[in-house]
């Protein structure tokens, strides 16, 4: 064996050792220098032994043993060195990792702190320091606790201490003061750190700002609370339609007791219409949203109408994961809508079936927005076209009254908008331009738009009927007025005047006049003074000429009416050849004329003619009317005449009745008086007879020288005579003697009466009887009694006993008229009516029976006696006795 190799080994070991010592102070990572130096020494020693052995400087046997030990030591040295290096590497790696960790920790956005095994914080990363705005010196140890919110500090310290004692991880939430003064929520996650030998090294904790998360959580909690307590039913479901969550409102809506009973069910269980569910699912899954109404069912099976809004929601990656749906119970609304639809249908039917045309006008656009079938028929325009126009297109520019259609219509529409319901007549035009008189009623429709409903009724027929009715009413009024006024008047002239007035006023013709047939039978019509002149001054000449113009039958307007007995009409008298007054009418501007007769019992009693300044075509209706008026007026006149005759007869009968009544009263009275008088006469006459006899005896016994005696006895005798005569008169009145007629000369009877009275010479008696002899056929005694009473009254009436009494008789037809006149004081007017009453007298010594007896006697002869009113003083009684020829 060459010693070269050994020497190389020796020197190599020496060099290695030299290099080692040269670089001893250099920092060499991962190399355990002591073990390496020791290894080098062993290698150098072993090499040195080998080299010395090769140089044979040492004993090989001994050297081998040492070398073997050196080899073993070198191997062990390598082992130590390698282990030491490995440890060095591990430690170095740990330190590097720690540094790296610290750098990493400092660069992390999370807030990280680390503590040692005593619980004191040893490090805070930059994020923490930036967050708190404090220095690491302020935070080290327990300085960090100053930034914890006071309300959280004790709780956090307790958690930390408990975890620290247990060496367990901990998690807590705390509020930490940020540099800007705001406390922010942090999620603190602490993890215990152990060294390689499981020795507790402290805690490392990361803090995450969860303020936003806390807010989000709070917001989520609020949302969840809102979801749970929301009045709107809400559900969440998966894509298969299975409900994953629902609120109480939904459970209540569908009749569940709790939401747990709802969760997990398929939405198909709630819907009675599968197609609706399919629509919802399709809408949600394909379009991401469904908004509509469907009919569902409750748990008890009752239907419910709901409005569903379902939307799809997705996860963070945008993948759809389920849907959310809100439900609104629209059952009441649907019921109302159904009711409204029914009502609308009903009203639509009403509108469509209404007899009038109904249109709905949009005032803002001034066009129709709805019309019924009648409207299309009325305006003869299709519905579609009608809905494109407004009322202006269906109206003339001006209404019949001259008002502008558009302005007038807007006025009515505005009234309707103001709440009024105007009704008015309107002239419409149909599609062909034909005028349609209509009655329109407007009313505003309840709407947020300005809509006005108009009901339009075609009043063409009504107007015709109204005109006809108006004409009939005019006729009736004319007839009524004419007849009524004719009925109120008492004469034909008044009736004709009324008729002319009424016809002129009702027809507005300015001139009316009446002709009547001549009373002398010359077949002419004579003008009357009966006129109606609207303008008297203007028609003065016409009046004067007409009142001088008679007409023959067939001549002129009155003549031809008289001849035909029918009304006549002349449209323009100036063109009429048979109108004598046409020139005058031409001067006055009178043109039209008509007339009609008034007939009574078939006879024309008057012709009424009327004139107008305008030319008026023949009006058959008016002619028929005035013909009726003429007949009616004639009938009224006829009836009036009949009534007058009836009234006269009635008056006569009443008068007769009154007379009979008076006679009956008189007779009754006289009968009573007669009975009483008979008794009185019977009772008085005997004593009076005795008195009379006694007076006669005494007159014979009393001497003539006793003048007083003679005078008183004569007085007694005279009064007794008076009493006897009164009694006799009374009996005459009451008994009513039977007549014993005979023919006598009136003059003889008058003389007989004159002889009974001592007539003073101062009273002239004049008797005139023609013819002479003036014979009468009467009861002479009773007639004499009448003359006696009348003569006595005349003598009593003549004052101063001087005067004249005139007795006259003459024959008037079949009556003998005998008058007794005196020049006395006469009878006052108030007593004249009662002079023939029984027991009426104005004389102090009168009995009130004389004239009553006279009247009774004359009436018994069939005549009358009456007091003749005289202009001068005095009294005249006139006796009227029927002259009766008596043939022997």
């Amino acid at each position: 064996m060459s010693p070269f190799a050994e020497s190389v080994g020796f020197f190599a070991g020496l060099a290695a050792l030299t290099f080692f010592f040269v670089g001893w102070r250099r920092k060499v990572k991962n190399v355990h220098k002591p073990f390496f130096g020791m290894l080098l020494l062993l290698v150098l020693g072993n090499s040195c032994l080998d080299w010395l052995e090769q140089l044979e400087l040492l004993d090989p046997v001994r050297t081998d043993v040492v070398e073997d030990f050196f080899d073993l030591f070198i191997a062990v040295g390598w082992a130590f060195f390698v282990f030491a290096c490995c440890e060095q590497v591990s430690q170095s790696q740990f330190l590097e990792s720690a540094e790296k960790l610290q750098r990493t920790v400092d660069s992390l956005p999370e807030l990280i702190w680390m503590s040692d095994a005593n619980g004191l914080c040893t490090h805070f990363n930059k994020s923490w320091l930036n967050f708190t705005g404090r220095t690491i010196q302020q935070e080290l140890g327990l300085g960090w606790a100053d930034g914890v919110h006071p309300n959280d500090r004790d709780r956090c310290m307790k958690i930390y201490e408990n975890a620290f004692d247990a060496r367990e991880p901990f998690t807590m939430e705390q509020r930490l003061h940020r540099h800007d003064g705001e406390y922010r929520w942090l999620l603190v996650v602490g993890t215990p750190c152990f060294e390689t030998d499981s020795k507790f090294a402290g805690y490392i904790s990361s803090c995450i700002d969860i303020t936003e998360r806390k807010r989000a959580e709070e917001l989520l909690r609020q949302h969840d609370q809102a979801f749970r307590t929301a009045g709107t039913p809400i559900t969440f479901g998966d894509l298969d339609g299975r409900i994953t969550d629902a609120n109480e409102a939904f459970a209540k809506l569908f009749g569940f007791e709790s939401t747990e009973q709802v969760i997990g069910r398929l939405n198909t269980e709630f819907h009675s219409e599968p197609i609706s569910v399919a629509q919802i699912n399709a809408g949600v899954n394909e379009r991401g949203r469904f908004n509509g109404e469907i009919t569902s069912k409750r748990i008890d099976g009752t239907p419910i109408d709901i409005h569903v809004i379902a939307t799809l929601f997705a996860d963070a990656d945008g993948r759809p994961i389920g849907h959310m749906a809100t439900f609104t119970d629209v059952t009441p609304r649907r019921q109302v809508e159904r009711a409204l639809r029914e009502e609308e249908k009903r009203y639509r039917t009403l509108v469509e079936e209404a007899p009038e045309a109904i249109v709905v006008l949009d005032v803002d656009e001034m066009r129709f927005v709805d019309v019924n079938e009648n409207a299309t028929e009325l305006f003869r325009i299709a519905r579609k076209q009608l809905l494109e126009v407004g009322p202006a297109a269906l109206s003339p520019k001006f209404q019949p009254d001259g008002n502008d259609s558009a302005e007038t219509a807007m006025g009515f529409v505005q009234r309707a908008l103001d709440g009024d319901t105007p009704a008015f007549e309107w002239l419409h035009l149909d599609a062909e331009g034909n005028e349609i008189p209509c009655e329109v009623r407007l009313a505003r429709l309840p709407s947020n738009r300005r809509l006005v409903r108009g009901s339009v009724t075609d009043i063409s027929e009504r107007i015709k009927l109204e005109k006809a009715l108006s004409r009939r009413a005019l006729e009736a009024e004319l007839l009524y007025q004419a007849v009524a006024m004719a009925d109120e008047v008492d004469s034909l002239d008044e009736a004709l005047q009324s008729c002319v007035d009424i016809v002129c006023e009702m027809t507005a013709w300015p001139v009316g006049h009446v002709y009547v047939p001549s009373s002398n039978g010359n077949q002419q019509l004579e003008p009357t003074k009966v006129w109606y002149l609207a303008d008297e001054q203007r028609f003065t000449t016409f009046r004067e000429v007409t009142e001088r113009t008679p007409f023959d039958m067939g001549e002129g307007l009155p003549g031809r009416i008289w001849k035909s007995g029918e009304p006549a009409w002349i449209a323009n008298v100036q063109d009429d050849d048979n109108f004598p007054r046409n020139k005058l009418c031409g001067d006055l501007g009178v043109k039209a004329a008509f007339g009609f007769p008034v007939t009574v019992r078939g006879d024309t009693v008057a012709i009424l003619e009327f004139f107008n300044e305008a030319e008026v075509e023949r009006n058959e209706t008016l002619l028929l009317l005035v013909r009726s008026v003429g007949k009616q007026v004639g009938r009224v006149i006829e009836r009036k005449e009949a009534e007058q005759m009836s009234r006269k007869r009635h008056e006569l009968v009443a008068e007769e009745l009154e007379k009979a009544k008076e006679a009956l009263i008189l007779k009754t009275r006289l009968a009573a008086i007669g009975q009483m008088s008979a008794q009185i006469a019977h009772e008085l006459r005997n004593p009076l007879g005795a008195v009379s006899n006694a007076v006669f005896y005494l007159k014979r016994q009393v001497p003539v020288s006793e003048e007083k005696w003679s005078e008183y006895l004569s007085l007694i005798d005279s009064e007794v005579t008076t009493c006897n005569r009164f009694i006799g008169d009374l009996l005459d009145v009451t008994r009513g003697k039977a007549l014993n007629r005979e023919t006598s000369n009136l003059k003889d009877l008058i003389d007989r009466v004159l002889n009974r009275h001592d007539i003073p010479k101062s009273v002239d008696i004049e008797i005139n009887c023609e013819p002479a002899p003036f014979e009468i056929f009467a009861d002479n005694d009773q007639i004499v009694q009448v003359f006696d009473n009348l003569l006595k009254n005349s003598l009593d009436a003549i004052e101063q006993r001087s005067g004249k009494i005139e007795i006259c008789a003459h024959r008037d037809g079949e009556n003998d008229i005998i008058t007794f006149s005196d020049s006395g004081r006469g009878i006052s007017p108030e007593d004249q009516a009662s002079v023939f009453d029984v027991l009426f007298t104005n004389k102090p010594a009168g009995t009130g029976l004389g004239l009553a007896i006279c009247k009774q006697i004359i009436e018994r002869h069939g005549g009358t006696i009456e007091l003749v009113d005289r202009v001068s003083s005095g009294t005249t009684f006139q006796l009227r006795l029927p002259h009766i020829l008596v043939f022997s």
Binding site: A5, G9, G23, V28, L44, D68, W78, V82, C86, V89
Partner: protein
């Protein structure tokens, strides 16, 4: 004649090699660790040859043993020079 100490040394060397190989990732952090593994490998081979020479090829094995041992020392010297003497940034 095979000595027990030689076997122990071989086993120790082999164990070191095995450990080295097992922790070669970590030991790679040691500068020029390849030279160290070469060195320990040469040493281990030398020790193995010292055992082999007892049974076969006594001379050859001995020669190899005495050659590899200095070689291991040379490699170790080189590593020492590279690690402790040579400046960083100079050529390798």
């Amino acid at each position: 004649m095979l000595e027990e100490r030689e076997l122990v040394a071989v086993f120790v060397a082999l164990a070191v090699c095995g450990f080295f190989l097992m922790n070669r990732g970590k030991l790679a952090e040691v500068p020029h660790s390849r030279l160290l593994i070469v060195s320990i490998g040469l040493l281990t081979a030398s020790l193995v040859c010292s055992v082999i020479e007892v049974f076969v090829w006594e001379d050859t094995a001995n020669l190899i043993q005495h050659t590899l041992a200095p070689a291991s020392a040379v490699v170790l010297a080189i590593w020492s020079w590279l690690t402790f003497v040579r400046r960083e940034g100079s050529s390798t």
